[in-house]
Symmetry: C2
Subunit: 416 residues, 2 copies
């Protein structure tokens, strides 16, 4: 099995100014190729440390992926360290990257200055993978490390540029290393905690053939992804997935990179149906999840965040008696919110949330972390049918909101 | 200057399953104490590697902070590695942590099992900093490393537990190490890019006394934080800040941990005024930012996400002629959206957004990344005054949405 190191460069990481999201993204892509990530480390803008650390990584792993330490305002410490590490005597200009730099600056109406021009310069020994989204290219170096068999890829630190380059980098890795054939199939589940899931599918997992490996990939918003991996040969996962569907039923909602919001969106689009949201405790997060799917305007009409009871009554038509008798965090209220927004925005489906995200508020009967969720749908006779669910979590405000929203999406998904 | 290492433990990081947000949080706290973070690294659940890496960190830095590798479902590889590293012969029970475990499980109605009981067991040489938010305590070890002067703190990996423990950990670090006296004052700015800001305040910065250090801490949602740090002695930042205010004017909106949404909230609360939002391109993100401030229900009534033109017209009262003549991404539309939601939700202030987040859509006149923003306020005669702004960004969908939302908040802030 090939091994890899992921190194992020930049003082801004060591002083905690930015959260490194690139490394986990890169790790997932390497993992999917069957490459084991052995080291993940952050290095400051310090030439000697960069050379030392990258040298160690090249000696000990087959592939080294570096992000950051480039860009027009950096002092190019990283680029010169790479020049030295790769044994390059000087720099050459990448015509292809220069074309991208000109195009990008031109579109923004920014004149080219020397610091931009310098970004197309790369060490002699480097192969360039052009960056269409930014001015700094990806630099690839081969035959490094003590066995002269390791490769290093240096990517810009800006996340959307780094992630945009990854397909090309992974293709290059596949070309340069004879990787064992590997096939994946991922099933996405929601609503069953990882430990319970593991017990439910224990005997199924034990009966898997030796060359099929199962991985649990839990995510608070997505649910638990179950990834089947086969090393070598042609994989036929179908019989195992059919068995899994028998055990887990409708806890399975998708495959691959599906999310609750993408699956809901695809179903609504296919059926020509529309969606509205009424949010109280989730405060806009549910709408943000729905609109994170590009093209959602095909089925998503909009939402009302009804943080005050006034908005619940005036815009959504929640009855004053409902609020006074049961309170805003109640089944009757969330039912009326869902039906109300469906009618106000004239949609086929609607979701509503009302709960206590904390840290303050709550009572012995309705502690912080409690929420009522509703999913409404318009029937053919014009009447509205509403399904409800009460959930309890005991986490921070942000995590409670995240969970309320994903359970609300799941309730809708089960009622589409 | 004391130095530190931050190590995260767990295979889930190396396979890219989770993004490590703890390390940047810890780095910021250490940085604020004047401690330099030299190493940041992730280690898999591998006993030998844990001992080797932590040993190296202890030999080379004064403070080592470890997160993860604990918890009831882990095989306690980390805890036993810490036992060996600290020269402990066995384990002892922490009565204080056991009390927290009993309380937490009791509140959730979960019976205590052996794996929970084991979480109160810590290596002999350890000092416990109890964890009120979870079952695994923080373990502190002193007199480690080759000089026998380094300390190691092991925290659970769950972010809200780790972050909840940090104040106690930082207090412990201050007690155990004679840290140089350090004082900070942070000014928060919005709307001026870091590089422009640096030029504007160049001569002010050059005139700062030797013992006052300036750091730029940019953040896409917050803006650029300018942190003044004085080492040793009593600090009086007032004259420097007064000069800074003269140069930057109302680009300065707060201090310390202030955010646009927290400053807006405080001002609205103090004035007894209320806020509504009308979101198109930001799709709920603006509402999410406003509701990320606990207690926002004091001033925030709610929002309408008007993703379809129908909702813009029917709920917000945007005129059909406005949409047909100027389109949804236009000054007249965003103006009517802001005034419309202010009236519909009966508030004193309102913010509206309408733009093209991408990746699709856009035109030569209105390219992807364009948005119109509006901030409306009700005047004493009942009429509504609206300020507008057009912004252009060229990033990914998620980053464009983030920037639209923060510029919209800034427009409101300037018009409060």
């Amino acid at each position: 099995m090939k091994t890899a190191s992921i190194c992020t460069i930049g003082d801004e990481i060591l002083i905690g100014q930015i959260v490194d999201t690139n490394s986990s993204h890169i790790a997932r892509e390497l993992n999917a190729l069957g490459i084991q990530v052995k080291y993940m480390t952050s290095i400051g803008d310090d030439r000697a440390r960069i050379i030392q650390e990258l040298g160690q990584c090249l000696d000990n792993t087959d592939i080294v992926i570096v992000t950051g330490g480039l860009g027009p305002t950096k002092d190019d410490i990283t680029k010169d360290a790479l020049r030295e590490l790769s044994g390059s005597s000087g720099y050459k200009e990448s015509a292809e990257q220069m074309a991208h730099i000109k195009r990008i600056l031109g579109a923004r109406g920014i004149p080219m200055i020397d610091t931009n021009r310098a970004q197309a310069l790369v060490p002699d020994a480097c192969s360039v993978i052009p960056n269409k989204l930014g001015t700094a290219p990806c630099m690839a170096f081969y035959q490094l490390g003590k066995a002269r068999t390791s490769a290093l890829y240096s990517l810009p630190g800006v996340p959307f540029e780094a992630i945009g380059l990854l397909p090309d980098v992974m293709a290059d890795i596949r070309r340069h290393f004879s990787l064992e054939e590997i096939t994946h199939h991922t099933i996405v589940t929601f609503g069953i905690p990882e430990s319970t899931l593991a017990k439910q599918i224990e005997s199924w997992e034990d009966a898997l053939p030796e060359n099929i490996h199962l991985a649990y990939l839990p995510n608070p918003t997505v649910g638990v992804r179950l990834r089947l991996t086969q090393f070598g040969g042609k994989a036929d996962f179908k019989p195992y997935i059919a068995q899994l569907q028998q055990i887990l039923g409708d806890a399975i909602y998708g495959e691959g990179e599906d999310t609750l919001q993408s699956v809901i969106g695809a179903k609504l689009r296919a059926a020509g149906k529309t969606l509205a949201l009424a949010e109280s405790c989730t405060g806009g997060h549910l709408s943000e999840l729905i609109t994170s799917v590009a093209g959602c305007s095909d089925y998503y009409k909009g939402s009302v965040t009804s943080y005050s009871n006034e908005v619940k009554m005036n815009i959504l038509g929640v009855k004053p008696a409902t609020l006074s008798q049961f309170g805003a965090v109640s089944e009757p209220c969330v039912r009326e919110m869902a039906a109300g927004v469906l009618r106000a925005l004239d949609t086929d489906y609607a979701v509503a949330t009302s709960g206590i995200a904390g840290p303050g508020g709550g009572s012995p009967e309705k502690p912080v972390g409690t929420a009522w969720l509703a999913a409404a749908r318009k029937l053919s006779d014009g009447s509205v049918q509403v399904a409800t669910q009460c959930v309890h979590f005991a986490s921070s405000r942000a995590v409670n909101i995240e969970r309320f929203a994903s359970y609300a999406l799941d309730l809708l998904r089960r009622n589409l």
